[in-house]
């Protein structure tokens, strides 16, 4: 692997965030050519076809769900929420990295973010799109989902603002809106570049419309910078708020295993953890395939691995504290909940989760493993699975045995649960494939700002 030698590089501080040989022209050329000039590789078609087929599976699953009823899923009483809500939380979690990288790292002036932020933002948007479907389709009557919005109606009823699900509606929709705007605003200068460099009339028009008349004047740049900064400032608290509110879905309930004050920070950390795992998971093959090693360097990999390690440790702390409080509370139901997680019928899930989310990331302490893309990729996969298991443990094992043993039950996802999940993965990748084909996956103008050429003497 051509990258292997990078891992041997002794100090990552010396590893640049962009290949030293790059110039303004080469940056623009290289990135825009993926969209404009290069022949679409066969692999793209194959990948897109697979993703699109899975997307069709999702459509089938949704059709089945809406026409037959939510009973096609495995949910029941006591386990009223299953992989539907679990996947919602999982996807929302994945959708955290993008905005975090874009907004928070922008505010913290972390220059290394530039080459991955566009891609991570796109990933965020697409993940939130997947997540957003679940709360609608997990309803018994999804066609009435709009009742959750506070719209003026002849019934004269508002939604209930005490319900965490109501908060969710606002949190997720706000997050999706701001993320989309942030992403789009960031794309405007690059749309202009593509408009100017495109030879096809059709694309000139399309990109031209998307560029919204961007001419690169100083006034444009001035306003752009201001808008981008403001949006970054707006998006930053959202990164923290969305998953905090998602965690309220559980912590506002009284079920042992849900009713815990640690949930908000623990969920946010988990989300960033999962988000970075997903960014790593996607970046590694992508930079290899499109030869973007010059833009996304090993320094990025190291940094992302470190973020994952740090958030992983917070998540691990969360697990330990959960167990500690189960014991320390002295509450018989809390104690049983922890006992049941560790020894009950879903104990396998719990221990797998501990393995995936606490044990595995410890390898990231080792620099050699951080530098080894294969290992890093495997760890990111394991962490993604681990975060899915975490949500399974929280949602399902808490519900399946609560207070009265007479109403205990078990939960088993059905083929339609899986179809929907696999389908959303397909949809996610289908969107991602379209994105890398038609939009610059790395911010062209921002990459130019980090070139040595851009260093202007004060």
């Amino acid at each position: 692997m051509p990258d292997q030698h990078h891992s041997d590089a002794p100090h990552h501080t010396t590893v640049p965030v962009i290949d030293p040989g790059m110039t303004f022209a080469s940056v623009t050329d290289k990135i825009s050519s993926i969209v404009l000039k290069r022949k679409t590789p066969i692999a793209w078609f194959v990948g897109f076809a697979i993703a699109f087929m899975l997307f069709q599976l999702m459509m089938l699953a949704i059709t089945q769900l809406v026409f037959v009823g939510i009973g096609v899923w495995g949910v029941n009483i006591p386990v009223g929420w299953g992989v539907d809500i679990l996947n919602f939380v999982w996807w929302i979690g994945i959708g955290h990295a993008g905005t975090l990288i874009s907004a928070i790292l922008l505010l913290l002036r972390q220059k290394w973010r530039t080459s991955i932020n566009r891609f991570a933002e796109a990933m965020t948007l697409f993940a939130v799109a997947q997540a957003g479907m679940y709360p609608i389709f997990h309803l018994g009557r999804p066609w009435l989902a709009y009742w959750l919005f506070p719209y003026p109606n002849t019934m004269g009823i508002w939604p209930q603002f005490r319900s965490p699900l109501m908060w969710d509606v606002f949190a997720v929709s706000t997050y999706a809106t701001v993320s989309a705007m942030f992403w789009f605003v960031g794309l405007i200068p690059d749309f202009a570049t593509l408009r100017d460099r495109s030879h096809s009339k059709f694309f000139q028009i399309i990109y031209g419309m998307l560029a919204m008349g961007w001419r690169g004047s100083a006034r444009h740049w001035h306003r752009y910078e201001m808008a981008y900064l403001l949006l970054a400032g707006l998006a930053t608290p959202l990164v923290l708020s969305v998953h905090t509110i998602v965690s309220f879905d559980f912590s506002a309930g009284i079920i042992p295993g849900w009713h815990a004050t640690i949930f908000p920070p623990y969920f946010v950390a988990g989300a960033i953890y999962a988000g970075f795992a997903m960014v790593i998971f996607l970046t590694i093959p992508l930079r290899k395939f499109y030869g973007l090693e010059g833009f996304i360097t090993m320094r990025h990999m190291h940094n992302m691995a470190k973020v994952m390690l740090a958030t992983g440790l917070i998540v691990g702390y969360g697990y330990i504290i959960e167990a500690f409080f189960g014991w320390y509370s002295g509450n018989r139901f809390e104690r049983y909940m922890i006992w049941n997680r560790m020894h009950g019928p879903y104990a396998t899930y719990y221990w797998a989760l501990i393995l995936c989310n606490i044990i595995t990331p410890q390898f990231l302490w080792i620099k050699k493993i951080r530098g080894n893309l294969l290992w890093l990729w495997v760890i990111s996969v394991v962490v993604s699975i681990g975060m899915w298991l975490e949500r399974f443990v929280i949602v399902v094992t808490s519900l399946h045995r609560d207070f009265l043993p007479s109403s205990w039950g078990m939960y088993q996802p059905t083929q339609w649960d899986w179809s929907m999940f696999v389908g959303t993965i397909g949809f996610f990748f289908a969107l991602l494939f379209l994105f890398i084909r038609f939009l610059p996956m790395i911010s062209i103008f921002e990459m130019r700002t980090i070139l040595p050429e851009a260093e202007v003497e004060e």
Binding site: I70, V75, I77, R141, W147, Q160, S406
Partner: protein, 1111 residues
């Protein structure tokens, strides 16, 4: 254009009117226009006569010129008619049945008492195995929709005489509404699977009787070759009809067979008294009860009354400090055993020895000690038996020894003898004549019939009710080979079942809610069964069927019943009591008006009626009969018809001489009726199929109950629950004397089952029960034999390959596994009476959060002070766990009242059953010898701080001012968060469209006051909010507050033990407030600060201190 249309209609109307008067001047006859000389199709309702009229054609041409061709062209028109006809037929009750022309007439005069929207109640009687449960049936606009107990009936009074409420019923009576509307019921008389009119059947039977030319036939042979096979006949009229037929045709024979009969009790009575008797117990006076395998709380003709008296005697409220003590010796765990203070489960082989030991210890009169075997014999520790017999002897005259119908005759005889020697007879135990019209040994009767068939002496077999092909013993099976030896076979039943399949004629039987009949309750009191609805199909009652074989073959059931009682009265006429002169009236008028009032005077045979002659029918003079009859119909029973108590002397010498049954080795197979579907007759009833069986919580299946040790011995694994509430269990093969149960038998590890004893339940493995009942479970009749119908010993049992999925509503292991101890969770509280009386301090340390600990403003809902103008109701419920016997009646009553759907086995496996009130069962102690299970009915708690409410994003579940946790179905979008957050898990979700919206008969069945829920919405117990509203409206109209006990929920009204009490907790004098003030009162999970409105009173047990010490 619209002007034109107006003219068109006017034109048409005028023409038609003109044509009508031309064609038929008779006034009142409707639309007799046959201008083309064609007879109109009779099945048209409104358009028919118009079709071919030139006026109509002209109208069509003017109105729809492009369509006119269709009417001109005969071919096209027929297609059109066919389609129209088909859709009309589909819209009717049932597509495949010929619809009689209907007259749709609006009320010119409103029927008396009938107000649209207001339900009426009529008294009638539901029967199981012929024995009456007197009921009041709610009729909504002529549709029977709900069964209530008849509290006017002398056998079923309410504890609170002020209560205007209804009395108890059992699950079978409750579920009978569903059977009435069952679309699988057979609908027309069938001859070899072809629809035939009833008259064809009558014709054929008359021919068979009288011969084709009026002489010859069976009548010429005095009925030789004619056989009637009935179930147990209790109906006096039916018995009289049979008697008449047998008088006219002396060579004909009448056989009775029912798989669940009282042959053993009968033989036991013969052994003890030399005559069959009916034994009646008075549990209200019994301080010590020992049940010898008698499940008198759930499977006994008098169970409702017995359970009520039993619970009343044990009710520790309002300062009462004494309760009776119940000892149970049984072979397989039963509801009665679960409620016992001491329960011993012993093998059937040791049963007789034990009872003999007990009998000799309580010193039978006239028997030398040792005659019966050694005192205190059997497997139960001698100290315990001594304590038990001491306790019984100390309570001579106030104790009951009761033997189960499944026990051997000797056990019954010994029970009679013990009651005699304890001085109970005449105090707590009474003997009367049998309530059966003819008490016979049914196995013997069946044996005679089978012999006659085998020897070719039967030409015409009339099977009146029952399903003998399915439920006869394996050695006397009325199977295909045997039945096909008979030339002509007639089956009368509600379903074309296994027997109906093999008969030439199948005559649909009416349901009791659509037919006239009479019957007796367990003490002989006669009830007239009156219909609430015209038969839905072309069904005939058994009275009408039997009338075919008499001189009056077209007599209506109403006339048969009424004439019988008129004659009975005239013949009897002994006592003229003022009571009969009280005119009928008030809230329950006679149903069905007075059909065929002008029928000819009865010419029925004057032969005296068989058993009913003994019944002291209060007679009246001829003129008073009508008012007497109406009074009896209104009240639901004929007064003073309880059978008189008779004096019998037990002959214990006879018993002593009976040799002890030798015990056999191997596995013993014990047969029991299924707690939900009885002997199989309720197989096609979804409510009963889905009702969790009280002790196992299994639905839709029967299973072989084995003890934990036997399971280990047979290498049956502990059943792991894998998905939902499926239990994958190991299966076994059971065979005996070369007969094997053909289906694999799933096993169920039953705590408290004696080792090497396998209990199987009857009633499953049906092949032709209907869409609901087919192919569930295994058929235990396949190895049942006539000589020992309740027990076989020495059966071969082996483990079979493969597993079976049982659908249970409560995970089996958490009923018993000690790691989920109940003490630990403080869910179900039970203590001993002594502990309760001694302890002054509350020993449970539930931390109920105070006001300062809650985030909610406690003044937000101030239920105590709802304002000056508010009526200040705060609804609440108290459930006395000391009274609840776990009979499940509340679950079915709720299902019937609240239109709760059936979901089927697969959905139950996935934990999606819909019952709004469930009865939880928890064992205590080790699985080998557990206590209990203890039962706990769980409806919605209607928490004041309901966790479900704040989490609903759309306000679909909200709190009412009176403290109800209301569910707004229309607003629900189905997030299921409320259910997740409900600590009691009482909410139920419509995962699919569970309600049957299409079957027309089910639409008739539903309670119009309760919404029929659609797919995707949550539902749960409402405290029967429709009943609350009705009560409030009634009170408001009369400008008074709602009285205590005026509003009763469905579960409360059906409860045989009055364990459930509902009412206003803002009224300190209401029954519910008084119950909640008891020291035993506790709330479920109150430390969660839910403030449940439903609370429980801890259960109590009253163990014998001597035995408790020993144990």
């Amino acid at each position: 254009m619209s002007e034109d249309r107006h003219i068109n209609f006017k034109l048409m109307r005028d023409r038609i009117l003109a044509g009508q008067s031309e064609a038929d001047p008779t006034p009142g006859r409707s639309l007799p226009i046959y201008p083309n000389g064609k007879k109109p199709k009779t099945y048209w309702r409104s358009l028919e006569e118009l079709v071919d009229a030139p006026e109509f054609r002209e109208f069509v041409e003017r109105e729809f010129p492009q369509q006119a061709e269709v009417w001109e062209d005969p071919v096209e028109r027929r297609t059109f008619l066919k389609l129209m006809g088909a859709s009309l037929a589909l819209a009717g009750l049932s597509g495949c049945v010929y619809q009689p022309p209907e007259k749709i007439v609006s009320y010119i005069k409103q029927p008396e008492e009938e107000f649209p929207g207001r339900a009426l109640y009529f008294a009638t009687a539901a029967t199981v195995a012929g024995v009456a449960t007197p009921v009041l049936v709610r009729s909504n606009e002529g549709r029977p929709t709900k069964i209530e107990g008849n509290s006017d009936h002398p056998n079923y009074p309410n504890a609170d005489p002020k209560s205007p409420g209804y009395s108890a019923t059992d699950i079978f009576a409750q579920a009978s509404v569903l059977s009435l509307y069952d679309p699988d019921r057979s609908q027309t008389p069938l001859f070899r699977d072809e629809n035939r009119p009833w008259t064809a059947f009558v014709g054929e039977m008359r021919t068979a009787l009288n011969g084709p030319d009026g002489n010859g036939g069976l009548r010429a042979k005095q009925g030789a070759g004619l056989r009637f096979l009935t179930e147990t006949v209790i109906s006096p009229t039916l018995a009289a009809q049979l008697k008449d037929i047998l008088t006219a045709l002396p060579q004909a024979k009448w056989h009775q067979y029912e798989p669940v009969n009282r042959d053993n009790a009968r033989s036991g009575a013969l052994m003890a008294f030399g005559q069959p008797v009916n034994t009646i117990y008075d549990f209200s006076k019994a301080e010590r009860i020992i049940s010898l395998g008698a499940d008198f709380l759930s499977a006994h003709p008098g169970m409702l009354r017995y359970a009520r008296d039993f619970a009343a005697r044990r009710r520790i409220t309002e300062g009462r400090k004494e309760m009776s003590r119940l000892y149970v010796i049984e072979t397989t765990p039963s509801i009665t055993g679960a409620n016992a203070d001491h329960r011993w489960s012993i093998r059937p082989a040791q049963f007789e020895e034990t009872v003999r030991g007990l009998a000799s210890s309580v010193a039978l009169r006239g028997a030398a000690p040792g005659d019966l075997g050694p005192p205190f014999g059997g497997p139960i520790a001698q100290g315990w038996m001594q304590a038990l017999s001491r306790d019984l002897l100390q309570h001579g005259g106030s104790s009951i020894v009761i033997a189960g119908a499944e026990q051997s005759p000797v056990v019954h005889a010994l029970a009679h003898a013990m009651n005699a020697s304890l001085g109970n007879v005449g105090k707590t135990v009474f003997y009367t004549d049998t309530i059966e019209a003819y008490s016979i040994d049914q196995s013997q009767s069946l044996h005679e019939l089978v012999t006659d068939i085998d020897e070719g002496r039967v030409e015409l077999l009339v099977i009146v009710g029952g399903n003998p092909t399915y439920n006869t013993p394996a050695d006397l099976k009325l199977d295909k080979q045997r039945l096909f030896k008979i030339n002509l076979r007639v089956h009368h039943g509600q379903y074309k079942d296994e027997t109906g399949e093999l008969c030439h004629w199948h005559i649909p039987a009416t349901h009791y809610l659509e037919s006239w009949s009479d019957t007796r309750s367990y003490d002989g009191t006669v009830s007239i069964v009156q219909p609430l609805i015209e038969p839905l199909y072309e069904s005939k009652s058994e009275h009408e069927l039997l009338a075919v074989f008499s001189d009056q073959y077209d007599k209506k059931a109403y006339d048969i019943i009424r004439d019988y009682w008129r004659q009975n009265q005239e013949a009897g006429g002994r006592r003229q009591e003022a009571v009969i002169n009280q005119a009928a009236g008030g809230r329950r008028p006679e149903a069905g008006g007075a059909p065929t009032r002008g029928s000819s005077p009865s010419t029925a045979s004057p032969a005296s009626t068989p058993a009913a002659a003994a019944s002291p029918v209060a007679a009246a003079s001829r003129g008073d009969f009508d008012s007497w009859w109406r009074k009896c119909l209104h009240d639901g029973f004929i007064p003073n018809t309880a059978l008189p108590v008779k004096t019998v002397t037990a002959d214990s010498n006879g018993i002593a001489k009976v040799p002890q049954t030798p015990s056999a080795g191997g596995y013993a197979i014990v047969f029991r009726t299924d707690p939900s579907i009885y002997d199989g007759r309720f197989s096609n009833n979804g409510w009963l199929q889905e009702l969790p069986k009280p002790l196992t919580k299994v639905t839709w299946d029967n299973a072989a109950l084995v003890s934990p040790a036997t399971a280990r011995k047979l290498n049956l694994g502990k059943s792991p629950a894998v998905k939902g509430r499926e239990s994958y269990v190991d299966t076994i093969k059971i065979s005996h004397q070369g007969r094997t149960i053909s289906d694999t038998v799933p096993t169920f590890i039953m705590p408290g089952q004696p080792d090497d004893v396998i209990t199987v339940h009857l009633g499953y493995g049906r092949q032709r029960a209907g869409r609901v009942g087919n192919k569930h479970g295994f058929n235990a009749y396949e190895i049942r034999t006539s000589d020992s119908p309740w027990l076989i010993s020495g059966a071969e049992v082996s483990k079979a390959s493969g597993q079976y999925v049982l659908a249970t509503t409560q995970l089996h292991f958490n009923m018993e596994d000690y790691s989920f101890r109940q003490d630990d969770r403080d869910i179900l509280r039970v203590e001993t009476l002594a502990e309760y009386l001694e302890e002054k301090e509350e020993k449970h340390e539930t931390h109920v959060p105070g006001e300062e600990e809650t985030l909610y403003d406690p003044k937000l809902y101030d239920y105590k002070n709802q304002g000056e103008n508010a009526p200040n109701y705060a609804w609440g419920m108290a459930i006395d766990l000391n009274s609840c016997v776990g009979c499940n009646a509340c679950t079915i009553a709720c299902q019937s009242e609240n239109n709760i759907p059936v979901v089927g086995k697969t959905e139950v496996e996935r934990s999606r059953e819909m019952h709004w009130i469930r009865v939880d069962a928890y064992f205590k102690g080790e699985p080998e010898n557990p206590e209990g299970p203890y039962f706990q009915p769980v409806p919605c708690m209607h928490c004041e701080n309901a966790p479900c409410e704040p989490v609903c994003p759309v306000h679909a579940t909200v709190h009412s001012a009176e403290g109800l946790n209301d569910m707004v179905y229309n607003r629900c979008v189905g997030t299921k968060y409320c259910s997740n957050n409900c600590p009691y898990k009482v909410r139920r979700f419509n995962f699919f469209l569970y309600q049957d919206w299409d079957t027309p008969t089910y639409q008739l069945m539903r309670n119009p006051e309760v919404s029929v829920r659609s797919r995707g919405v949550m539902e749960k117990c409402t405290y029967c909010v429709q009943r609350i509203q009705n009560g409030k409206i009634r009170a408001e109209l009369e400008d008074r507050p709602v009285h205590d006990g005026e509003i009763i929920t469905a579960c409360q009204s059906v409860c045989p033990t009055e364990a459930i009490v509902f009412g206003n907790i803002n009224d300190p004098n209401s029954r519910v407030s008084r119950m909640k003030a008891e020291r035993r009162n506790y709330g479920l999970l109150t430390d969660l600060n839910t403030k449940p409105r439903t609370s429980y009173l801890a259960g109590l047990r009253n163990p014998n201190p001597d035995i408790a010490k020993e144990g």
